[in-house]
């Protein structure tokens, strides 16, 4: 069952300099690429850097490029390769490398911070939220995202054009904008910002993000294109504009609404005779 496989693993440091290093290593039945990298660590290269956590496709830590294709190493089974094939593992290309297979993904955290947070209606206390399943299903799909950044890595708008990183939030975060815009209780208007602040226009809907997403989220079809259409609504559609004028329906749009601070409200109780014990109110 087991066999010896040929591997090439990119090894280098934060200067970006490095090279593919060849290895020969045992492979057993049912193993994934991450198992092999661990075997290399334990037997041949104790300091081989790799990032991982769950080994079950849930945390999105182990992103790399296997034979040039962006993948989760823990979800890439060795049985998908030919026994004679040399398997090449390289770090994500779009982000600065830290060491070996580990890259600095802070770009994504910076982009995440630029998106205004969820803003619920001010008059709803915790426990009073009512949303129907069909309304939450759309944003729920996007919340499956495990933040593996494979889409961010693959999107050519930044992969091939470092200079666009400043303007473009990338598919994962445009999807976040979309998620909030579709959230049944979010009151902020995000449409103009999607284009003006987060660079929705850089996306040319070529769908590589969708192709690599390990969660099989239909990023382009369900998040990015609908968001583009929503932008058209506010920016370019006279019919919609006319309809709004006639019916005066603003679809809950308030641009600078903020959410109320949640701890100020205790919410309905759950049968406890006492109010929930507390250490004291949130100060300041």
């Amino acid at each position: 069952m087991g066999y010896r496989a040929k591997f090439e693993v990119w090894r280098g440091d934060s200067t970006g300099e490095g090279a593919l290093q060849p290895f020969e290593v045992d492979v057993n039945e049912g193993e994934v690429v991450l198992d092999i990298v661990h075997r290399l660590q334990a037997t041949q290269a104790g300091d081989l850097a790799v990032r991982w956590n769950c080994k079950a496709g849930k945390c999105g830590s182990c992103s790399a490029e296997v034979n040039g294709r962006p993948r989760l190493m823990c979800m890439t089974r060795m049985s998908t390769f030919d026994e004679h094939e040399t398997v090449t593992i390289t770090p994500l290309r779009t982000f600065p490398v830290i060491r070996d297979l580990v890259t600095d993904v802070d770009f994504n955290y910076v982009k995440a911070r630029e998106i205004p947070s969820f803003a619920p209606p001010e008059d709803l206390a915790p426990g009073e939220y009512r949303m129907s399943q069909i309304d939450v299903e759309r944003p729920q799909e996007f919340r499956k995202c495990i933040e593996c950044y494979l889409c961010q890595n693959t999107c050519h708008a930044v992969r091939d054009h470092e200079e666009n990183k400043a303007e473009f939030a990338g598919p994962r975060y445009l999807m976040r904008v979309s998620e909030l815009d579709m959230h049944p209780l979010d009151v902020r208007d995000r449409k103009d910002a999607a284009q003006e602040d987060h660079g929705l226009g850089y996306c040319n809907i070529t769908k590589c993000c969708t192709e690599v997403c390990p969660e099989h989220i239909k990023i382009t079809d369900n998040a990015l294109i609908p968001m583009k259409e929503r932008v058209v609504d506010t920016k370019y559609d006279p019919l919609v504009w006319l309809g709004r004028k006639i019916f005066k329906r603003e679809d809950l749009e308030r641009k600078h609404a903020t959410g109320k601070r949640s701890l100020d409200d205790a919410g309905p109780d759950n049968g406890s005779p006492l109010p929930a014990d507390s250490i004291g109110p949130a100060g300041t």
Binding site: G30, A42, G46, I98, P126, V136, N270
Partner: protein, 639 residues
Amino acid sequence: MADTTTPDVVHHTYDVLVIGAGGAGLRAAIEARMRGKRVAILSKSLFGKAHTVMAEGGIAASMGNANPRDNWEVHFRDTMRGGKFLNNWRMAELHAKEAPQRVWELETYGALFDRTPEGKISQRNFGGHQFPRLAHVGDRTGLELIRTLQQKIVSLQQEDHARTGDYESDLKVFHEFTVTELFKDGDRIAGAFGYRRPTGEYLCFHAPAVVLATGGIGKSFKVTSNSWEYTGDGHALALRAGARLINMEFVQFHPTGMVWPPSVKGILVTESVRGDGGVLKNSEGERFMFRYIPDVFREQYATSEDEGDRWYDDADNNRRPPELLPRDEVARAINNEVKEGRGSPAGGVYLDIASRRSTEFIRKRLPSMYHQFKELADVDITAEPMEVGPTCHYVMGGVEVDPDTAGTVVPGLFAAGEVAGGMHGSNRLGGNSLSDLLVFGCRAGAGAADYLDALAGAPAVSEEAVDAALAEAEKPFSVRGAENAYTLHQELQQTMNDLVGIIRRADEMEMALKRLAELHDRIPKVGVTGGRAYNPGWHLAMDLRNMLMVSQCIAMAALERQESRGGHTRDDYPAMNENWRRELLNCSLTDGPDGPQVHLEHQPQPAMRSDLFDLFELDELKKYYTGDELGGHRADQGM
């Protein structure tokens, strides 16, 4: 490659340090920040990837959305029963009362739980919970929880940005940062020391309050659902800082982990599979759980398959199927079936949902399980049964804390989440951990803020302490090639798995302690190759000492407790013993001939407040309590 010059240490000052960015850590940080403190969050992995992300089933909170008869009292009773009355009752009380509000709060942060037809949060069944109680999002609840908290942190940072122009002015995340040491000034906490994993840069934090939220210890076992993060760092840091660990003998083995292929052995198969209708069968096709209903649970569980099946639709008039017994019972049952030769080819039993639910139902309710089996084992769970077996999952034991403030005996040191002990007694119910994280995370944040408000004078970190911590971290680089960290780790895991595993015996545990003592001598000889930048060999070398210390606590406590209860099963003492219910075992460090040593002590379990005691029927209490303890019950006083 390792350079020989002494590296620099960079210093930072904060009000509150939160170690751990899982559910407990993030909730604590939010609370402390909202109470006006400057907070730093330190985490070994990337922000948003902490272990909590792996939780699947749901968050237990008695919101009563699915069954209006549910309330905190029922939840409290379930929790105490699940923990076999060894729980810290005050923690269980606070947990049951506050969990709903903590969950509702998440919605104000943007969480999107699955809904009931009226638009409320949907709740599902889980083992040991009398009513459907687990708020959930498909089978990725942990992901929703951590993402929501992560986004709340971001939103707080945005508020700070609007005020100060800097997102990180008052709340900063140092991710991929490992804490190796806590500092004290006298007996008060003064700060922490550690290294950035990517660069190997050393940082010293000056902070009068530290919240430990580092999760569990599962990586000391070979077959585990836990990730590399679970090396018991928080447990060990607390011990070294002078705090005590309690209940360390109680380690939960989840009944259903994957058993095939070998490389994924241990990965969790969520309990929701059973909550949603999955059943366990042995190689003879028998639903064997009916044979394993223990006396204490006789009344609450169905005795026939028909009744069990009816329960899914009509829970009020039927009793639940025994597949939904607390985890310790199910894990033992599976273990026994396999031992008696009725196991599956890969050494597990069958978990079958394919023959009981429609394909659409399975794919809708259990999408990540479907995905996980498809991709990792080539098994289509809508068509075939899964093969499952017990896997080390959770440690009930942990740092002893004050229930209301989450403070430890060390002033300024707080602990919440899996790293804290007491709440779950001898066995945790599914879904009670995520709610535990929120309830006590919040309390730890508030406790730390309160502590700071009352604090007189700032504790200082001494230079010698920093130098000592630095020297300790640098040590593996100067040891040359004697021992390999990976090999030692494997030996440690094998020892714990084989000798202090799911079924325990005195002679085996004595053997384990001997081997651990040997490892104790070998670990200082671990050398590493390469430099400080993202060097997994070095990281493991640093974590090993913590794993060892925690493993010693587990083995010593397990040897001492001469009964079987919850997550602790003794072959040589198979019965539960009422007298042991009053005893807690605690571990601390004392100075020994060659450095600090783990020291085990008994301590009495505080008696339950009478109004809580009265929530139970006398008949039930009789199964757990000795006669003289029952005196205060309401049933007695009437006489």
